[in-house]
């Protein structure tokens, strides 16, 4: 959705009012805040809960908060959570059933009355991740109605990236530090001699209506130019990059690569990468009964392709028993077969899987190694296109 509303500028007080206005409208505002030594996403009631004056230092297997002298609120990159924690929660009831005295169960769908979320501080990489989960969970023949209901009610306030981290590689993943489509409002934080302010662009009617209720001024050319320049500069400051090859084709042709053994010797199959990944969507189900035996509930919870049980077949055991095959499944799905299944890559380059891997496995480095090995695996013949 596009609107013709002109860009605006909010000062810090204006951003505070934006948060309290959303809360007053009954929205559940989720945004970044400092807690437990990290910039986490949590429910906000005031603008001053934003991580003003905090940045992050990221590397493979490493995440550290660092204070910033400039007082920026959004000069941090992806933290341990993503918006899927709210749109596609880790644990939820799907339906329940009660057995009548004659033994007939009555099935009841879990009521759909999700909160009206307002997500404040959605990074361009995460905006793409939400669009990818939209396609997976609502774009096929069947819609995940719980996800769909939460998603349709959610308001997305993006914040463009001006301070990429050491594990960031969104540009090489086909995105960038500038916000793509899908936002209601997009902010760009500007810090210069003229003060601390936020350029606001409007992406939807909902966004335009919200902006009307918040004190703001029309955007001036200097603020727009500074915002544009810092986002453009950010594109050149990515800490990492995927190699510039056809990765979809590379991984489809590499099921027998030697590198899988190498990475399997380091991978703990702990599933951290899949938990922090903003697009990983896999779930399992559990049946939970009460003591009467006449009430049962069907719960869904996040699952991971790194779990041995994930591919379990009764009578046959796990299809993917080795760590090698499980890492291969994750990486190949993310960067190659995701195209076949859902029409795009499953990776947005947020770098979470690199930072939160306890073994420091770096997805960009693994792809590069796979590419370097390619002539050998071709000679071996894989039988795959």
């Amino acid at each position: 959705m596009t609107t013709t509303a002109p860009a605006a500028v909010l000062d810090r007080a204006g951003l505070d009012t934006l948060v309290t206005t959303l809360v007053a409208q009954g929205r559940t505002v989720i945004g970044p805040t400092v807690r437990d030594g990290a910039v986490v996403l949590a429910e906000l009631s005031r603008g001053d809960q934003l991580p003003y004056g905090w940045g992050v230092e990221l590397d493979a297997g490493r995440y550290r908060l660092v204070p910033r002298a400039d007082g920026a609120a959004f000069a941090h990159s992806a933290g341990p959570q993503s918006w899927k924690n709210w749109l596609h929660p880790a644990h939820e009831r799907l339906w329940s059933a009660d057995r009548a005295p004659d033994g007939t169960p009555a099935y009841t769908t879990e009521p759909l009355d999700p909160p009206q979320y307002a997500f404040l501080g959605v990074r361009p990489c995460d905006l793409r991740a939400i669009a990818i989960q939209d396609r997976v969970l609502t774009g096929g023949a069947y819609e995940d109605s719980r996800y769909g209901a939460r998603r349709r009610r959610a308001l997305l306030i993006a914040v463009e990236c001006t301070e990429p981290g050491g594990t960031c590689f969104c540009v090489s993943a086909g995105g960038g530090p500038a916000a793509g489509p899908g936002y209601d409002l997009a902010l760009t934080e500007v810090l210069d001699g003229d003060g601390h302010r936020f350029l606001v662009r409007v992406g939807s009617e909902d966004g335009a209506r919200l902006l009307e209720q918040v004190p703001h001024r029309a955007a001036d050319p200097a603020t727009e130019a500074t915002a544009r320049a810092s986002v453009e500069a950010a594109a050149g400051r990515m800490g990492r990059a995927l190699p510039e090859v056809d990765i979809r084709e590379l991984l489809a042709a590499s099921p027998d690569a030697e590198r899988w053994n190498d990475v399997a010797s380091r991978c703990l199959t702990c599933a951290n990468c899949t938990m922090v990944c903003p697009t990983c969507f896999c779930t399992t189900t559990e049946e939970v009964t009460d003591l009467t035996g006449d009430h049962t509930e069907r719960w869904q919870r996040w699952d991971s392709c790194f779990d041995l049980d994930f591919s379990h077949l009764h009578g046959g055991g796990p299809v993917r028993a080795s760590a090698r095959s499980r890492y291969r499944q994750w990486l190949t799905h993310k960067l190659s077969t995701w195209y076949d299944q859902f029409g795009s890559s499953g990776c947005v380059g947020c770098g979470r899987c690199i930072a939160w891997c306890p073994a420091g496995i770096d997805i960009t480095e693994e792809v590069r190694a796979m590419d370097a090995e390619r002539p050998v695996s071709h000679a071996g013949g894989t039988g795959e296109q």
Binding site: L94, W95, A97, R99, G103, T104, P105, A106, Y107, T108, T109, V136, L137, G140, A141, Y142, D144, S145, A252, P255, D256, F281, C282, T283, T284, T285, E286, E287, T289, G293, T296, R298, D303, C305, F310, S311, H312, L313, H314, G315, V319, R320, A321, S322, R324, S325, Q329, T332, H333, T337, D340, Q341, T382, G383, E384, Q385
Partner: protein, 268 residues
């Protein structure tokens, strides 16, 4: 499409083998949309969970049958269900055998063990319309005579050739012993105008499809039904991936031309 199961009453329970039973089901109230042979339902056993099971009978009345082998908590609970009990069904899910594309052609059906169950409605439709197909052959393999599903029913099907073989005979067995693929020598078919439908353990599917294509049957004319862990059946849980495929959506019935390479990769 409903996201919660619909209650179906067990009208009959037929024990097939020591660990396998067929449940005949009829809707308690509302019925699911019609199932095509090859498609599957998510079958809910109260308090235990849901499993994917292909239909082994489809009736015009909305009645269905599912043949279940007790290999886990849910399947054991379903096998223990008796007439009058109620189970929950969601569906129909997945791809069908696509028998229409076999019209006018020789038909070869190859089943291993409980793999006969998903093929049963296809066999019944084929033999009920002999004018529509060429020569129909049904080849069935089982580990032992006691593991043979549909033992009474198989000889009654009016096919051009029906063969039954077991891996390990018992003293009362006078039939064939060995791999089901060995029966292909006796099945009458003209490879260029043959459609094949295969279901069973994966090694058996691979061997059968390779033999059929080796004899000249086109890979896309060899349709196989595959099994993977499934939690949702709606393409959202990620469990049933086989490389680029989501088997709940792109399967369970797929052409050999699509899966030959995928099934040749270990632990894919």
């Amino acid at each position: 499409m409903t996201a919660v199961p619909l209650p179906y009453r067990v009208t009959a329970h037929r024990r097939e083998t020591a660990d396998t039973a067929t449940l005949y089901l009829t809707p308690v109230r509302e019925a699911l949309p019609d199932f095509a042979p090859g498609q599957f339902a998510m079958v809910h056993c109260f308090g235990r969970g849901e499993i994917p099971v292909s239909v082994s009978s489809v009736q015009a009345t909305g009645g269905l049958a599912h043949t279940v082998r007790a290999v886990g908590a849910v399947s054991a609970g379903l096998c223990a269900a008796r007439a009058g009990d109620v189970v929950g069904l969601r569906g129909p899910y997945g791809t069908a055998w696509g028998l229409e594309a076999a019209r006018g052609r020789d038909v070869i059906v190859v089943a291993g063990g409980i793999g006969l169950a998903p093929l049963r409605p296809l066999i019944l439709q084929t033999v009920a319309a002999p004018e529509a197909y060429g020569r129909v052959s049904v080849l069935v393999g089982a580990r032992t005579p006691a593991d043979l599903v549909g033992r009474e029913e198989i000889p009654r099907w009016p096919t051009a050739f029906t063969g039954v073989t077991v891996d390990r005979p018992d003293p009362g067995w006078h039939g064939d012993v060995g791999l089901v693929t060995a029966l292909l020598d006796r099945a009458p078919f003209e490879a260029a105008r043959t459609s094949a439908f295969v279901c069973g353990p994966e090694p058996m599917i691979r061997a059968t499809a390779r033999d059929l294509t080796g004899r000249g049957v086109a890979p896309e004319r060899v349709r196989v039904s595959l099994e993977r862990n499934m939690r949702c059946a709606t393409g959202h849980c990620g469990h049933c991936q086989l490389g680029p495929l989501l088997l709940c959506r792109d399967g369970p019935v797929v052409g050999w031309d699509v899966v030959e390479d995928l099934l040749s990769v270990r632990e894919l």
